[in-house]
């Protein structure tokens, strides 16, 4: 260095250009990293769909290599199509490696056995989707679907963000990840996942914008940019999500109880009626009206299907399609039940009307069904009747001949534990590692009894005890709605749920106690219509009506020598059979007396049954002042207040963020050819400030007219009027003067046009600040308040940039 070099060395940010190869740009990698973050952030919404974080390993193992491959391809100057192809290939490879390794070449190339394997996994995924309430078990099938979706969305978002330079559009992909959890999760996406997704999206936008700024020569363009727009869109969406439930009554209760949660599987009971049973119960307007007339003089439960398969750690109907018998007119007896069961023959005529289900409703135990249209089969294992094609079959009018078994307390009391081969093993199977609480509760409740009937009664009465509260909403709110084993465990913990939980839990505990069990799904007796119909042989049949509000689930337990016996563990629902009524304790007796009303008495209050609080149920009354209820009363108020505060807090940072981004705009009045420089931005800011202070720029206002009006209205002092005039002059120059490459800046130029003087024009943010403080001090406090919390400029923006 010589002493003549007094100027400091140039900053390293400006290296001498033109090496042989262009330097590697870090920005595409950064954007891709942001995409990875955003996709994973959106995927956190999957936490309630499967087990917590079960998606992380496979998801990361899919998305990361895919994005890495795409970024690498891009750094090798691959084109857009090539990059996308690389991404897809990487996705196929990673999915093969993770899920289809056994049938592939080299672990990553799909082989001939891959297709059937995929079909098997997809079938498994479909079954999981159809038969489960979230959270589902993270099986391979569902994981394959999740990983494939995440990978594809990552490819799409990355293409939008980098190749197509439309990062904002990539938000749709992220939204796609949120859709599934929003539909299936009882509590929607969840705030944390939403915020994480929004942060990821903003990160993508921000990095993409910085990349664009880097690319633009000299960064001459002032732009509020992707990030600013993203913030506004995000804030609007957040406000909507917060405000909507607060503003629309019944969004979380009433006629649309699931809020944004869609019931995509419809009202048909489908393969697993228990999945939708809760929704039916929560719907205050009964639908799917069914009438039946029966010769029975005791209340009839209409049974559609039984859930006995617990191999998947949740109650499911057994898919034994091959074992079904075709002749439903003369059905045989059930397996494990003797040929001549004592009991009374009952005729029941059922009109299903609009009710559509592949399962036929019949009282237990059916012996023959006539008058059916279509083809039907019955299952000798549980006497359920199923349409052969499995499709829903509305508008059936049929006659069921059934036998109502005679059960007596004494007869049941004489039963001994069922032998291992008495019934199919499916009725006893249970997971090897049930949750601790199920095992211990079963042990505590039933362990001291030896007789299976006593055990069953103990379990039933435990569940009907004062500790348990009937609630159709609590499982939804608590996220344990469904028939899974974990749900049962949670139910025992929380002690609040509805029939599916009571029945499922009793069936599980019965199995834990060695009693074969299954869960029947159908309808409680309903209410009499007052009409009678004529049955076979001139028999007078009393007509009843049921609808979705009578949907019910109950356990059936098997006792050797007796057969399948219905219990009613659900408080305030249905009718406790005489043989199952409790005689042990006075309090229990009282409860049971109330519950064992005959249908004629119990059902007139059927609509009221939806709300446990309205039910004169001692179990509900005995519950200590429920935190849930008082909390739920206070909750809307708290939420409203929180929502309002949040909404009020959104505009100020948005409003104050804008001048920040504007000030960072390059300070080049006039910019380049066609460039929008700082003067326009400063003027835009000034007009918006004025608008917020109640003196908006009108469309027919030329700048000077506006300036004079503002000065008059706000009584600007001379200094501030000077600031205003400088801002206006700079803006006029930038907006309306000629900017050709030959005329770079004030005073320059050529030809006769330049002969006229040009004012020295440079917008100064000091002037903006001066005008702002003058306007603030001259406006009244309501105007100031509005300018701060509901600024007009949030919607009425001065269009500084028309890109």
């Amino acid at each position: 260095m010589t002493s003549t070099l007094s100027r400091p060395a140039p900053p390293p940010a400006a290296p001498p250009a033109a090496p042989v190869r262009a330097p590697v740009e870090p920005w595409p990698w950064a954007v891709t990293g942001a995409v990875l973050f955003a996709v994973l952030a959106a995927a956190t919404s999957l936490n309630g769909v499967g087990g917590p974080w079960t998606w992380l390993g496979p998801g990361l193992g899919t998305v990361f290599p895919v994005l890495l491959a795409m970024a690498a391809a891009r750094s090798l100057r691959a084109g857009g199509v090539a990059t996308a192809s690389v991404g897809v290939l990487a996705l196929v490879g990673m999915l093969t490696a993770q899920f289809l390794g056994s049938s592939s070449f080299l672990g990553v190339v799909p082989g001939p056995g891959t297709v059937p394997e995929i079909q098997r996994l997809l079938a498994e995924a479909e079954e999981t989707v159809v038969s489960s309430v979230v959270p589902v078990l993270p099986g391979d099938g569902i994981m394959l679907v999740i990983c494939a979706a995440l990978g594809l969305i990552a490819i799409v978002v990355d293409l939008f963000a980098t190749t197509l330079a439309m990062p904002a559009a990539g938000g749709a992909g992220l939204l796609g990840i949120l859709v599934a959890p929003a539909i299936v999760k009882p509590d929607g996406v969840g705030l944390s996942a939403f915020v994480a997704t929004a942060l990821g999206y903003l990160l993508v936008l921000a990095l993409a914008q910085w990349r664009e700024n880097r690319r633009a020569s000299g960064g001459a363009r002032a732009s509020s940019g992707f990030a600013g727009r993203g913030v506004i869109i995000g804030a609007a969406a957040l406000s909507a999500t917060l405000i909507l439930p607060l503003m629309i009554p019944g969004f979380t209760s009433g006629a649309f109880p699931q809020g944004s949660r869609l019931n995509v599987w419809g009202n048909a009971t489908g393969l697993n009626p228990a999945v939708t049973l809760g929704n039916d119960l929560r719907n205050p307007t009964g639908f799917g009206r069914i009438t039946y007339s029966t010769s029975s003089d005791s209340p009839l439960y209409l049974r559609a299907v039984t859930l006995e398969d617990f191999s998947g750690r949740r109650w499911e109907p057994d898919q034994r399609l091959g074992d079904r018998e075709p002749d439903v007119a003369e059905m045989g007896t059930e397996q494990g039940v003797g040929g001549d069961v004592p009991g009374t023959e009952v005729f029941t005529r059922v009109s299903t009307q609009s009710y559509a289900s592949p399962w036929l409703l019949s009282p237990y135990a059916p012996e023959g069904v006539t008058g059916l249209s279509g083809s039907w089969e019955w299952d000798p294992l549980n006497l359920s009747v199923l349409a052969t094609d499995g499709g829903p079959t509305p508008r059936q009018d049929y006659l069921v001949r059934s036998r109502e078994p005679e059960r007596t307390r004494e007869g049941l009391g004489r039963t001994s534990p069922a032998g291992p081969d008495a019934v199919s093993a499916v009725f006893l199977s249970r997971p090897e590692d049930p949750p601790e609480i199920i095992r211990t509760t079963a042990e505590d409740v039933a362990g001291r009894y030896r007789n299976p009937y006593d055990k069953a009664l103990a379990i039933q009465n435990h569940l009907r005890g004062p500790d348990f509260v009937y609630s159709e909403q609590a499982p939804v709110d608590g996220g344990y709605d469904g028939t899974g084993l974990d749900v049962m465990a949670e139910f025992l913990e929380v002690r609040s749920g509805y029939c599916v939980h009571y029945a499922g839990t009793m069936a599980v505990m019965a199995r834990a106690a060695g009693i074969p069990s299954r869960v029947a799904v159908g309808y409680t007796p309903g209410s009499p219509t007052g009409n009678t119909r004529e049955g076979p042989g001139g028999l007078e049949l009393t007509e009843f009506v049921v609808d979705s509000r009578n949907a019910h689930a109950w356990p059936e337990l098997y006792f050797e020598g007796v057969g399948w016996v219905r219990f009613e563990p659900t408080p305030s629902r249905g009718v406790v059979p005489e043989y199952a009524q409790q005689t042990f304790t006075p309090s229990a007796q009282q409860r049971d007396d109330l519950d064992s009303l005959d249908p004629g008495n119990a059902i007139p209050g059927a609509p009221g049954e939806q709300t446990p609080a309205a039910e004169p149920s001692p179990s509900a009354e005995a519950t200590p002042p429920s935190g849930e209820q008082s909390g739920s009363r206070a909750l809307p108020g708290v939420l409203t207040a929180a929502g309002l505060v949040l909404v009020a807090l959104i505009p100020p940072p948005l409003r104050s963020a804008r001048p920040g981004s504007r000030r960072r705009a390059p300070e080049t009045a006039g910019g380049g050819p066609g460039g929008r420089g700082s003067a326009t931005t400063a003027w835009a800011e000034t007009t918006e400030i004025a608008g917020d202070s109640g003196a908006p720029l009108q469309a027919p206002d030329p700048p000077r007219t506006f300036e004079h009006r503002l000065a008059r209205q706000a009584g600007l002092a001379e200094a501030q009027a000077g600031s205003m005039a400088r801002l206006r002059a700079a803006y006029e120059y930038e907006e309306y003067a000629e900017h050709t490459p030959a005329m770079q800046g004030p005073g320059g130029g050529s030809g006769s046009t330049a002969a006229l003087a040009r004012p020295a024009l440079r917008a100064r943010w000091d002037d903006v600040d001066a005008v702002r403080s003058a306007l603030r001090s001259s406006s009244s406090w309501p105007v100031r308040f509005r300018a701060r919390f509901l600024p007009r400029s949030l919607v009425n923006r001065f269009p500084t940039d028309s890109r």
Binding site: P702, R704, Y736, G751, S752, L756
Partner: protein, 340 residues
């Protein structure tokens, strides 16, 4: 050039020296300021009128001064003419004035035995047509051909007029008997119309004081040469008009045509005049680009005399000026930022 320097007075040398051709921008400002100062010494309390007149001169238009007698119409025209070192002729229009009295005639020269053209008073840089509505339609139209074409055709021969060329016509809107009001087509030839209006009390008192002994008009000396004016005209022509300003001008024109209370809106020529006047106005403000304000400020002067109100608006006491203001209050200002 067939121009008569009949009122020429020599310019002073030091003023010529000050007109440095290297810095014409500064010169433009200085000369225009001097002209306006000179006009204002004669016409008390009406600076806008003088400014508008100069604007029209620089925009190469013609000016119609319309007002009651005795408010200084002719005085304004004369003062403006005298500040410029150029030829000025005045024509007093009367009903018996013939077209040849304006344009000139061909006279047979006995000596040369051929017809020679003797230019009429229209051959001057500034022509003052006093009480133009008193002349017959035929004579009016002969003047108007000169205004539009900047040339005179006599006996099949065309004679060009000099530059600058400006007609300042006055007419009296009150005394209508025995007059021939200008038809719309001819009013459209005038770039702008100015109504002088009465001066305020202070200005009127000052006027009585200054005009008592000697006419201040006599004291006015030319402050710009015809060459200066020609150079200024070139500069005005070079003033930049952004596309957004053109859009704004067009929007104003369309608004007049669609206005429910107007029978006749602004012609395309009037929009041309409007933009040219706006350019001159911008140049007078020292800018080389036109602002929407320039257009808006001059709209009334340029457009109002061409608009015809429908009967209802006229009977309701509305004026063309109030409708122009109404249009300006409604037409949005176009911006370059919106166009890009």
């Amino acid at each position: 050039m067939d121009v008569q320097h009949n009122t020429a007075e020599p310019l002073q040398d030091q003023r010529r020296a000050a007109a440095d051709p290297e810095v014409p921008g500064a010169d433009f400002h200085r000369i225009s300021t001097r002209i306006l100062d000179a006009v204002n010494t004669v016409i008390d309390g009406k600076p806008e009128a003088g400014r508008l007149a100069l604007t029209v001169l620089l925009a190469q238009g013609h000016l119609l001064l319309e007002d009651v007698p005795g408010v200084g119409k002719t005085m304004l025209a004369k003062t403006l003419a005298r500040t410029i070192d150029c030829t000025v002729n005045r024509i007093q229009f009367t009903p018996d004035l013939l077209p040849s009295d304006v344009t000139g005639v061909s006279i047979f020269n006995q000596d040369s035995r051929r017809f020679e053209f003797r230019p009429g008073p229209v051959f001057a840089n500034i022509v003052i047509g006093d009480e133009i509505n008193r002349a017959s339609a035929k004579t009016q139209s002969s003047l108007l051909e000169c205004m539009e074409e900047h040339q005179v055709t006599v006996d099949g021969r065309t004679h060009a007029l000099g530059e600058p060329f400006m007609v300042v016509a006055t007419q009296n809107p009150i005394e209508m008997e025995g007059t021939y009001p200008l038809p719309e087509a001819q009013r459209d030839r005038f770039m702008a119309r100015i109504s002088m209006g009465y001066p305020d009390a202070r200005a009127e008192a000052a006027m009585l004081e200054t005009h008592q002994s000697v006419s201040p008009l006599e004291a006015v000396r030319p402050v710009a040469s015809a060459g200066d004016i020609a150079a200024m005209l070139r500069q005005v022509r070079g003033v930049y008009v952004a596309p957004a300003v053109k859009e704004y001008t067009v929007a104003i024109g369309r608004a007049t045509r669609e206005h429910p209370r107007l029978r006749l809106g602004a012609s395309p020529r009037s929009l041309l005049h409007l933009l040219r006047a706006a350019k001159a106005g911008a140049a007078l403000e020292g800018r080389d680009f036109v602002l929407p304000d320039d257009v808006a400020n001059i709209s009334d002067a340029v457009l109002a005399h061409r608009l015809l109100l429908d009967r209802k608006a006229a009977s309701a006491g509305e004026t063309a000026s109030s409708i122009v203001q109404d249009i300006l209050d409604r037409v949005p200002v176009a911006r370059e930022g919106q166009r890009r």
